[in-house]
């Protein structure tokens, strides 16, 4: 008899993590829709459905551990058992640890999906390597750490329930690729738009869809500012300057609740609005009008996405945005649009990966001397990650030493790291490269061992990411994984046992989840069956300013602690100009500025082979202003080359009226399953200069030229 069962679980294809109802018939996932009763943001749930159904049912999934039999990159494999795969890896790890040291083993991690991230970090601590590479250097750390240094918390979220009078969406395509860091969700925004009492400002080079079903775009907002890519920090300083020069701030609040106003005032006296206009391409009049709105409309909130983080001053840029929020009193005040929250009381990843392993940390400290990248990245080190390019650099230069083993989970460095060619050359130098994946990718191609991974919904797991959202979700198993695929954290757990670290891990992964939830006083089973979702508790008080968990107890416009990390305590105009220099300067040969956007259909570089998604986005698409394209002799649908000093790629042109005529907006993430020549990271450079605080590098804003390309291969 046919069986039909509905499970409530959570989507993971974008940062919103909407609740989903997964419908399973006879063991096969047949339908995915919103998870009634639990938060869903109406982003393209369609996309979540296509992604999940397409992925779990895909005939292309990896189902057995594979060992390379030919040359690296030859694509020749033999199937091996899990025992053989894990034993081979464990033997090499032990050997490398004995001969060279544990730091020669590198954990190469991607954006956390399930439990694999804390497991891998825990493994690194127990094994003794400080080298956990994550994309934190261009994803999230800048924005969340800027909030922490400024307001004392990274859990600051939009207070949508307070019906904000001004919403600024800055570098975030909230209808398609997750909300802003402060969780401005589509659902709430739609109501505000129709309500008519909310001013909407969109700051984005792209005319993003704000409400696709309505056909509403950025151009329909009250203001659509189109800054030059990577000039957002300067724009923020421009807003700050207007607010200070025109005395639009609340002097009592500034006096009582902030530190460093005088330093900030002096800083904004060092530049003019004309300079801001020239550098950002945003008319002075718009800067003034929007700044006045930000300062006078209450509640006001500014929500940014992580697209702002792709430049060498990304941390100071994020600080400028945070300082702007502080200046207008929009955080933790009765009239503010943003508020701090207390996350659910569980062992968060940081505690999970280290807190009970203090002895191990003493034995194998995560010190600059032992870490690739050395003392370069002061904030990254505190955050427990090593920037991606530091690994590429160490492999290529063999300084401070040549890493031996790479264990890669949930990421595809050969497409997602800056400079794909250098990354491939570097990764080929691993004596053993192990890649856990759902499908073959550019990175599995050069691996020595490929491990078949299960995707969320094929196993039970706790989902906590993004940690700063302050929520906890039960991702339940709805179908069996294909073949012998395992959850990533099970791989780590089993590997730990084989390298003699069993006492720091668990008999099975469910016990680990019970441990993670222990402070909440519930087991995984109870959480899964009775709770499913927990969110942070808002600290909002309509009567008073609730204060700030910084060292000074105030908003740190000027942040002393940063000086100790060799980071400027104040965002400086002269520094924020740096991302526009060097290869980002417009010249006769390179008259356009390239930026990039994340696919609205896929997730980053992933899932290009999933037909349910591919059908909706068959080709890499680059956007240009119609007049600028016409001047170059391009028509809508032409294939064009986009070339920077580093290299060139080929994408299909789509015309977007209203875009700045100097901007060429390239689609990120292509390169697998066709269109190898469309890979955005053939345009980027891994080597210095870097943001020395967080390790960010230039991913956007490079000067480029464009010219017609042949369209064969379409």
């Amino acid at each position: 008899m046919a069986t039909r069962k509905e499970h409530i679980t959570f989507c993971h294809i974008c940062g919103n993590h909407c609740a989903l109802t997964a419908v399973v018939e006879n063991g096969k996932l047949v339908e995915v829709k919103a998870g009634a009763g639990y938060p869903a943001n109406m982003c393209s749930i369609q996309k979540g459905a296509d992604h999940l159904i397409g992925t779990v049912n895909s005939p292309d999934r990896l189902t057995k551990p594979l060992r390379r039999v030919g040359e690296k990159g030859s694509g020749k494999w033999e199937e091996i058992s899990w025992d053989e795969a894990l034993d081979t890896i464990a033997e090499k790890l032990i050997d490398v640890k004995e001969k060279f040291g544990p730091e020669y083993v590198i954990m190469v991690l991607g954006e956390p999906k399930g439990m694999e991230f804390p497991f891998a970090q825990r493994f690194a601590t127990a094994f003794g390597t400080p080298n956990t590479i994550t994309p934190g250097n261009y994803c999230g750390v800048q924005s969340t750490e800027a909030l922490r240094y400024t307001f004392g918390s990274r859990y600051i979220r939009a207070r949508m329930e307070g019906n904000p009078g001004l919403v600024t969406i800055w570098g975030s395509n909230i209808a398609h690729t997750g909300g802003t860091f402060s969780q401005i969700g589509r659902n709430d925004l739609n109501r505000l738009i129709v309500g008519g009492d909310t001013k909407l400002v969109v700051i984005d080079p792209k005319n993003i869809e704000l409400w696709p079903e309505k056909g509403m775009h950025a151009a329909d907002a009250d203001y659509w500012l189109r800054p030059r890519p990577s000039s957002d920090g300067i724009l923020a300083m421009g807003f700050i300057k207007v607010i200070i020069d025109e005395k639009l701030y609340d002097p009592d609040y500034i006096e009582k609740w902030t530190v460093g106003f005088e330093e900030l005032r002096q800083e904004v006296a060092t530049f003019t609005l004309e300079e801001v206009e020239k550098l950002t391409w945003v008319p002075k009049k718009d800067i003034q009008e929007v700044a006045r709105l930000m300062a006078t409309v209450k509640p006001a909130l500014i929500g940014n996405g992580n697209s702002l983080e792709g430049n060498i001053e990304a941390f100071q840029m994020a600080r400028a945005l945070a300082v702007l929020r502080g200046l207008i009193g929009s955080v933790n005040t009765p009239y503010g649009g943003l508020v701090d929250q207390i996350p659910p009381n569980y062992y968060p990843p940081g505690a999970f990966m280290m807190s009970d392993l203090k002895e191990k940390l003493k034995e194998y400290p995560r010190t600059p001397e032992r870490t690739i990248g050395g003392s370069d990245f002061s904030i990254a080190a505190k955050f427990g990650y090593v920037p991606t390019q530091a690994l590429v650099d160490a492999l290529l230069t063999e300084k401070p030493y040549l890493p031996k083993v790479g264990l890669t989970f949930v990421n595809n460095p050969l497409l997602t790291y800056a400079d794909s060619i250098a990354t491939e050359e570097a990764f080929k130098k691993f004596e053993l490269l192990v890649v856990s994946e759902l499908f073959h990718t550019a990175t599995t191609r050069i691996a020595d061992i490929v491990l078949p991974a299960a995707v969320l919904s094929e196993y039970d797991g706790i989902a906590y990411w993004p940690a700063w959202f302050g929520n906890l979700r039960a991702n339940v198993k709805v179908v069996d994984p294909p073949g012998e695929a395992w959850p990533d954290h099970k791989m780590v757990n089993e590997l730990a046992k084989r390298v003699g670290l069993g006492q720091y891990f668990w008999e099975d992964e469910i016990m680990a989840m019970d441990y993670m939830l222990e402070p909440l006083g519930m087991t995984w089973e109870y959480f899964r069956d009775n709770v499913r979702y927990l969110h942070g508790e808002s600290l909002y008080d309509p009567e008073k300013v609730i204060g700030y968990n910084t060292r000074s107890g105030k908003v740190q416009l000027y942040c002393e602690e940063l000086a100790k990390s060799k980071v400027d305590p104040l965002p400086r105009f002269k520094d924020l100009v740096k991302p526009l220099m060097g290869p980002c300067e417009i010249t006769e040969s390179y008259p356009f500025i390239m930026t990039n956007y994340k696919s609205e259909v896929f997730m980053l570089s992933g899932y290009r082979g999933v037909k349910e998604l591919r059908i909706k986005s068959p080709t890499p698409t680059v956007y240009m202003n119609p007049d600028a394209a016409k001047e170059q002799g391009f028509k809508d649908g032409d294939w064009i080359y986009i070339e920077t000093f580093k290299g060139r790629i080929r994408q299909k042109l789509a015309l977007q009226p209203g875009m700045h005529p100097k901007v060429v907006n390239v689609e990120f993430g292509w390169g697998d399953y066709g269109y190898e020549d469309a890979n955005n990271n053939l345009l980027t450079e891994y080597s210095r200069p870097w943001d020395t605080a967080t390790g960010c590098l230039t991913l956007r804003g490079l000067a480029c030229k464009v010219y017609l390309a042949p369209d064969e291969g379409e």
């Binding site: 109802t21 919103a34 079903e213």
Partner: protein, 341 residues
Amino acid sequence: MDKVIRKHDFLKLLFADLKEKYHIIGPTRKGGGTSTYAYPTFDDIDRAIDLEMGYTTTMGSLKKLYFPDNEALYQYQRVGTEVELVNLRQAWDKEKVILGLHPCDISALAVLDKVFGLDQYYTDKRNKSLIIGLTCDSACSRGFCSSVNSGPDAQSGFDLLLTDIGDGYFCRSGSERGERLLSLEYFKAAAPEDIQARAKKLQKTEDELKGRFSLDEVTSALAEKYNDSLWDEFADKCYTCGACNMVCPTCTCFTINEKAKGDHSQGKRVVVWDSCHFERFAQMAGNFNLREEKKSRFKHRIYDKFHFSLVRQGKVSCVGCGRCADFCPSHIDIREAMSRL
């Protein structure tokens, strides 16, 4: 009058002739990787190559053309002690041809006509439109046009109605303008086998349509089941996101917002599409809300489509395009509601 045109002639000759006189709107995916790429949309067509005549459905309907969201009505500005008003509504300077409109969407225009028929800008646009419809090649996944008598064939509301019959289109005129078009030399007389091919195609589409229900039974059940517990069940799944209203070709509710400068020296009155699922939709002065409960709002939309419009205008105002179910995050499907009623 019935004729046929070869596809090649349609794309080359007819398209070029139409382009000379009209601004062409049609189903297309030009414009890149957005949801308007994932789903074709009605947009300006400069080149026949951009037309996607084989489309099944679009996300947005054609209503945006005649009843635009975010349309500015007028601007006001303070000039000294006076207030100056500037009309911002714009009439079309050129006639438009709408290519490839499916029968459900053709029927939807008749619903819009009833609502906006007194608006001169609206009627002017409608008068300046030449509708070249297209019957569906296959049934869309959640459409139910045959249950509400708006497809798969259309009887009126078009100037020409095309049916894909393989290497050509079968063309039926529905107006004098349509007949005049059919007199162009590249339209050939329809042979009996062409008529057969058309009938076969429409029958195939009709057979593919799933979840057919009896409209009479539904409308009489609605009259009796206002307080049925079924409404609770459906409303439980509803996120009140308003997606169904936005994509619906016959939802016409709007609100009027004021977009003023900070100092209120200047501003605009703007028509904004509204959603009856939003809590403040039926909020009255004095803080009284006619439909505070989610359930009552959910029910209201269904009753508006299938009951109130029938009572007031003699016809249900749902055209069975299926977009509300296609784009509902919870996949709430009117067909299911109807069959369970």
